[in-house]
């Protein structure tokens, strides 16, 4: 490793232009299609939602530019404070948080689980990336512990989706940091076996000839999954089969994406979007990719994928060029998070299953 490299303290001349371009374009596209998705809403405040989004994006860009000018090592040194502060916030959500759609996620107008993602990244980058950081089984256990606490708190909300985002991120980082390789691979193996168990259990359960209630109870005993979780797995495995309710939105977003065709139906001209077949309340966030895929078609979807690839690989390039462990781990984690966000949040869950 090259330890005599130039200090990477920020300088605007050394801004990562490909990354910045990719992010700006994604923000622009996102804002445009949020505008399209919101245009059918009756209430003025909701129609203006795209402005809120654009404003937040501008703030985010400003923060990015400021942070780019600060040596990240300074940030990392204080990351454990950030991490602990986040844990307090997550606990506060459970105590005094605002309930919305059956889950307690908000406190002081923020979702601490979103902040927690960043906090875990920073904290582990510091913990595993500092000079002379431990690589043994103790460090492995400690890292998993640092992961487990916020995940457990997020699960209490409950918010399985967000909690799941943490896991692959941390494992990508552990892989890169090469911590306790034997324990790492064993954990992966256990994970694979567990997933295989659940999947085969759900698949076998499909052949049972019992009523829905018995089906759910028996499957719960074997896999520990709740009814709606069982259904998600089943729908993942057998998308053609009509599920016991609940798949209406998935079907609608599949129709939206599929009917988009090669070139799409045109901006603000997507039938599924404009006629409200995509859930209007969520079309501007969870279903935004369906809106884009319908109105911009396969061509538009590819552009977005390419921009994501640009962002991912420009960050990975930074990681490769990075002289120290902090930087590498920071980039890798950030990247894994990006990827997981991309895959889980925007594409897979609402738009039907894209990766078999």
């Amino acid at each position: 490793m090259n330890t005599t490299a130039r200090p990477v303290s920020g300088s605007f001349r050394r801004l990562n232009w490909p990354l910045l371009t990719g992010m700006c374009l994604l923000i622009a596209i996102g804002t445009a299609f949020i505008y399209s998705a919101c245009s059918i809403r009756d209430e003025d405040t909701l129609q203006m939602h795209y402005r809120v989004h654009a404003g937040m994006a501008a703030v985010g860009l400003a923060v990015y530019l400021v942070l780019a000018g600060i040596n990240y090592r300074t940030l990392l040194r204080w990351s454990w404070v950030f991490y602990l502060g986040t844990l307090v916030l997550l606990a506060a959500v459970l105590a005094i948080g605002r309930v919305e759609m059956g889950a307690r996620r908000w406190v002081f107008h923020v979702q601490p689980s979103e902040i927690a993602k960043l906090a875990v990244i920073l904290f582990l980058a510091w913990f595993l990336g500092r000079r002379g950081a431990p690589r043994g089984i103790a460090a492995y256990v400690a890292a998993l512990g640092a992961l487990a606490v916020p995940v457990a708190l997020v699960l209490q909300q409950p918010d399985l989706g967000t909690a799941l985002v943490f896991v692959p991120t941390v494992f990508a980082m552990l892989f890169t940091a090469h911590v306790a390789p034997r324990a790492f691979w064993m954990t992966i193996a256990v994970g694979v076996v567990a997933v295989a168990w659940v999947i085969s259990a759900v698949a076998v359960a499909e052949t049972w000839d019992v009523d829905a209630k018995t089906h759910e109870a028996r499957l719960h005993r074997i896999t520990g999954l709740k009814g709606f979780q069982q259904e998600r797995v089943a729908h993942f495995l057998f998308p053609e089969k009509e599920q016991r309710g609940g798949s209406w939105h998935k079907r609608q977003s599949e129709i939206a994406v599929g009917s988009g065709g090669l070139w799409g139906k045109g901006f603000c001209k997507g039938d599924q979007n404009m006629l409200g077949y995509l859930p209007p309340k969520e079309s501007s966030n969870d279903f935004i990719f369906s809106v884009l895929a319908e109105e911009a078609g396969f061509a538009g979807s590819l552009v977005v994928l390419a921009l994501y690839a640009l962002v991912i690989f420009s960050v990975l390039a930074v990681a490769v060029a990075c002289p120290d462990g902090f930087g590498k781990l920071l980039c890798v984690q950030d990247q894994s998070q990006q990827r997981n966000n991309t895959f889980l949040r925007n594409l897979k869950s609402p738009s039907g299953r894209y990766i078999r």
């Binding site: 490793m1 994406v257 599929g258 065709g261 404009m274 590819l302 690989f313 894994s336 894209y354 078999r356």
Partner: protein
């Protein structure tokens, strides 16, 4: 070992992760390709299926005109007020929208000064079943209501006036049985097959020509596509196929003759047919009592019930569906049988002493008259039963059956109207089958004087009379103008001209002879050939009579055949004669006037 290197953050792990991401993105792209390019058409169809409703638009129905272009059936604009529910749509529960619609209807009722016709249930129903279509709130808006609406139209953005054609019959009851009536069309099988979800109310012929030529009259319905949003409200619409208006029908009917025929039948039960023996065109056809097709198109259930329960059965078209024994009007055909297939000379003479003895069942001449020695021509003139019984016995039934069959009795005439009867021309086989008895000479004699099991419709009688008038051509009667000028010939009987001439002479004597039974039908300045008939029947054990007359004129070159039957008559000559005269006077009014002047100068 590399794995235990104290500086393990090597770049290959990062590159490996990068490759993993790349693989993920590639898979994602491949899946998108499958959805958006390979399967795109299927998804597009699913999208269409869930968001597009097909609506059938009825086309304007063709009109019906008489031979002079006078309107017999027409369409009249019916101004309807419709509510577009998507304009009144309220967020939240569907009942909010129902409330809004109710409020709007109340406001409209106040403006129109009309009672509300559309209940809350009706709105709820409409929302549940036909949300994307406008809700029909009022029909048959009159001018003042329309004017009041137009004044404050801007206050009602979700309201529209649209025109729906109503069927009207400007001449009222005139030719009601011929025209028939229409009803609101149901969702026909064809409509279902074409995957239409809705149809706007259309009209469908239910009887008469409206039914017979429904396909021609109704035209080609148009199709409208409505795109609906996820809640089912209309989003936009476009017309995929313009409706093609139905064809107008021009009839052979002559309104004046028709009116005259209906006038003479007013107040009795009976029927009449006027046709042109040269081509089979029907100039008038009436059945009494009649109905007003305006009240039936479409009918309210009370009107309908009343007509169905009426003992006079006004819905039946007696001219084509009535089965009557023809009485003596059948005798000219018996005469024709004797002269052709019966091989009896035209000079055959029998002596009438008032009674024909056959076993213990005597057949008498009307009014106990004794005609003495009569020949064929005289027998027709005086309608001598004894003569025709003798004649029938001597020639046998086969000749009578064959000629009657040639003339069209016992089968449908093929007129373009639904519901025609075949009548009944009995035969030995028929009697064996239905009565399990052999044919007897008594049966032959009964048929020869138009009684017994023989049953004919007035239209069959008219077609057969036309064959006598035109020299032996049996024509298919028709109601649409523009057919072949020589008529649709069903059968050329090949009756010898001399035989036809003799029967015609007898029929002329019926009207103008000294002892003629039909002199009440005499028209000055016109040679009329006719035959009366009086057939006995019983209602609840009481004897009644059908009065008949068949006729054609002018006898030397017949242009019209007039046939009439009246139920509960005195005799054919007394009851029908004067009525026939009035119809003939109407038909030949111009000729008679011109002839009278010519004679005067």
């Amino acid at each position: 070992m590399q794995l235990h290197n104290p500086k393990p953050l090597s770049n290959w792990r990062i590159v490996l992760l990068g490759l993993l991401f790349l693989a993920g993105l590639t898979l994602l792209g491949a899946r998108l390709y499958r959805l958006q390019v390979v399967q795109s058409a299927a998804y597009e169809q699913r999208q269409m299926r869930q968001s597009v409703r097909r609506v059938l638009l009825p086309s304007p129905r063709g009109r019906i005109l008489d031979g002079h272009g006078r309107l017999l059936a027409d369409n009249q604009p019916n101004y309807c007020l419709a509510l577009y529910l998507e304009e009144l749509r309220c967020s939240g529960r569907p009942s909010n929208t129902v409330n809004a619609a109710e409020l709007e209807l109340d406001r409209l009722a106040a403006v129109l000064q009309l009672p509300r016709t559309c209940s809350r249930d009706c709105i709820t129903n409409h929302i549940a079943r036909m949300l994307s279509l406008p809700l029909l709130a009022w029909a048959h808006l009159d001018e003042p209501a329309l004017a009041r609406l137009v004044e404050c139209r801007t206050n009602f953005p979700g309201v529209d006036v649209f025109v729906q054609p109503d069927r009207i019959y400007p001449q009222g009851r005139l030719a009601a049985h011929v025209l028939g009536y229409v009803g609101r069309g149901d969702l026909a099988e064809a409509v279902r097959a074409e995957n239409y979800q809705y149809q706007l109310p259309g009209l469908k012929g239910r009887a008469g020509l409206e039914k017979e030529y429904d396909d021609l009259l109704c035209g080609l319905p148009g199709g409208q596509l409505i795109r609906v949003d996820a809640a089912g409200y209309r989003h936009d619409e476009w017309t995929a196929r313009q409706p093609v208006p139905g064809h107008d029908l021009t009839l052979t009917l002559d309104s004046e003759i028709q009116a005259s025929l209906e006038n003479v039948l007013a107040g009795v039960r009976g029927a009449g047919v006027v046709l042109d023996p040269r081509n089979g065109d029907i100039l008038a056809m009436a059945s009494a009592p009649a109905f007003d097709p305006n009240t039936l198109s479409p009918a309210s259930s009370e009107t309908w019930r009343a007509l169905i329960d009426d003992p006079e059965r006004p819905l039946i078209n007696r001219a084509i569906a009535g089965r009557y024994p023809p009485g003596s009007t059948f005798k000219p055909f018996v005469a024709m049988a004797a002269l052709t297939l019966g091989n009896l000379p035209s000079s055959t003479t029998y002596v009438c002493d008032g009674t024909f003895h056959l076993g213990n069942r005597p057949i008498q001449c009307a009014n106990g008259e004794r005609h003495g020695a009569v020949d064929l021509r005289k027998a027709i003139e005086v309608s001598c039963n004894v003569y025709f019984c003798n004649l029938a016995r001597d020639m046998g039934y086969d000749a009578i059956w064959s000629v009657a069959q040639q003339a069209g009795f016992g089968r449908r005439t093929g007129i373009d109207l639904p519901g025609e009867t075949t009548g009944l021309l009995p035969s030995n086989e028929w009697k064996q089958e239905h009565k399990n008895e052999a044919w007897s000479v008594g049966d032959t004699c009964n048929v020869a004087i138009g009684q017994g099991d023989l049953q004919v419709s007035p239209l069959q009688m008219a077609v057969a009379t036309a064959a006598l008038a035109n020299g032996g051509k049996v024509l298919r009667p028709r109601l649409l103008r523009g057919g072949a000028p020589e008529g649709d010939v069903i059968n050329r009987t090949g009756w010898p001209a001399a035989a036809v001439e003799l029967v015609r002479a007898g029929m002329q004597d019926v009207v103008s002879g000294e002892e003629g039974t039909g002199h009440y039908a005499k028209v000055a300045g016109l040679n009329v050939a006719a035959k009366t008939g009086t057939a006995q029947y019983r209602v609840d054990g009481l004897p009644k009579k059908y009065g008949w007359m068949i006729s054609f004129a002018p006898a030397e070159a017949p242009r019209v055949v007039v046939v009439m039957v009246v139920e509960e008559a005195q005799t054919g000559g007394l009851t029908v004669g004067p009525r026939l005269q009035r119809v003939l006077l109407t038909i030949f009014a111009n000729e008679i006037a011109a002839g009278g002047k010519a004679g005067a100068t």
